[in-house]
Symmetry: C2
Subunit: 205 residues, 2 copies
């Protein structure tokens, strides 16, 4: 790269740096955030578990409630439970719910299981001892009216100021998206499963 090119590279980088620095300086609010991962693509729950790893890395007290048992992957489960031996007092992990609705085929049982999971979640959301709460696949339970949306919105709004909450699952209700600070739609571009590839350990499982 010639001298002029190099100078241009540096100039562009300096302008970019100034822009980024200004943006960072403007972001002064410091509080717990509500993150929603939705959409039909891959990555909603795995991103939630990545944030859980981050939070545990910082020594936070973390709570996890999985609303759809079996949508979750033995991989995370194995990992965080194994890891949990070292951090047992930092992580409360519940796998609840009765599996996908098309597996149980019994609405009353589905509602009862989802509400039992919600009771645990509501207790975490009311407890300032939890720095980070992951409510995995809660959107599914909301969409199916297993758990009342109003109860979730009220509990999230009333939670401790520093507490982070991550809610995952396709079809996030609009009111939850409105209430959230950060929302990502995981858009499916393509998926190996549609090309006939089995769900893979470490990736989906």
């Amino acid at each position: 790269m010639g001298r002029t090119e190099e100078a241009h590279y540096r100039e562009r980088a300096q302008r970019k740096k100034a822009l980024v620095d200004r943006r960072i300086a403007r972001a002064t609010i410091d509080r717990g955030v509500l993150v929603v991962n939705t959409g039909n693509g891959k990555g909603k729950s795995s991103s939630g578990f990545g944030m859980l790893a981050r939070s545990l890395g910082h020594g936070f007290n973390c709570g996890v409630v999985q609303f759809i048992k079996g949508s979750f992957t033995t991989g995370e489960d194995l990992f965080f439970r194994r890891f949990g031996e070292a951090f047992a007092d930092r992580l409360e992990y519940h796998v609840m719910g009765e599996g996908f609705t098309w597996e149980t085929q019994d609405r009353e049982r589905d509602v009862a299981a989802a509400m039992a999971a919600w009771d645990v979640a509501a207790r975490m959301l009311a407890d300032p001892a939890f720095d980070f709460v992951l409510l995995d696949e809660l959107n599914i339970a909301l969409n199916k009216d297993y758990v009342p949306l109003e109860a979730v919105l009220a509990a999230v709004a009333a939670r401790p100021e520093r507490q982070h909450v991550v809610i995952t699952g396709r079809g996030a209700p609009e009111a939850l998206v409105d209430a959230a600070d950060t929302v990502t739609e995981m858009r499916l571009v393509k998926h190996a499963f549609k090309a006939g590839i089995k769900a893979q350990h470490g990736i989906e499982l």
Copy 2:
């Protein structure tokens, strides 16, 4: 819920179960997959780290190369390094690169750092001992032409058949999307940062 309603619920669930079962039966190919997380929204890297947790949970041998030092979050770093004590022989973790380009302001240094990271990645992609390889923010290095796309496509195509590879970063090159099995675009719906909220430990950091 009345008897008729209950019967309808069960019927719908049975039809759904039959459909899902058929789809699962059709997915018979069993091999390593290439996953690409791209887009401007949150969750690309955290999803990659969630899959890393899954893979470690299954006892896989895993490799991680972070191409943009500092885009990564001390949280994951802390977590997987701490955890790494228990699984030291299962995880090879490299934080490389020289930071965001607008921080270094020196193209030659950026290219050299990205290529040093790529050398490590290429070694992992050629080694059947690695079951899972996460190349975090590689897309950034590809977009800036720090690392040649052809080299990445060739290494990924020639990798061991059972090896999973996850590549993250905004702006995935089209040829990489074409080569991938599963691609998600993390679409930004909204982000707390734009509302003036600082990057939060456990969420972004």
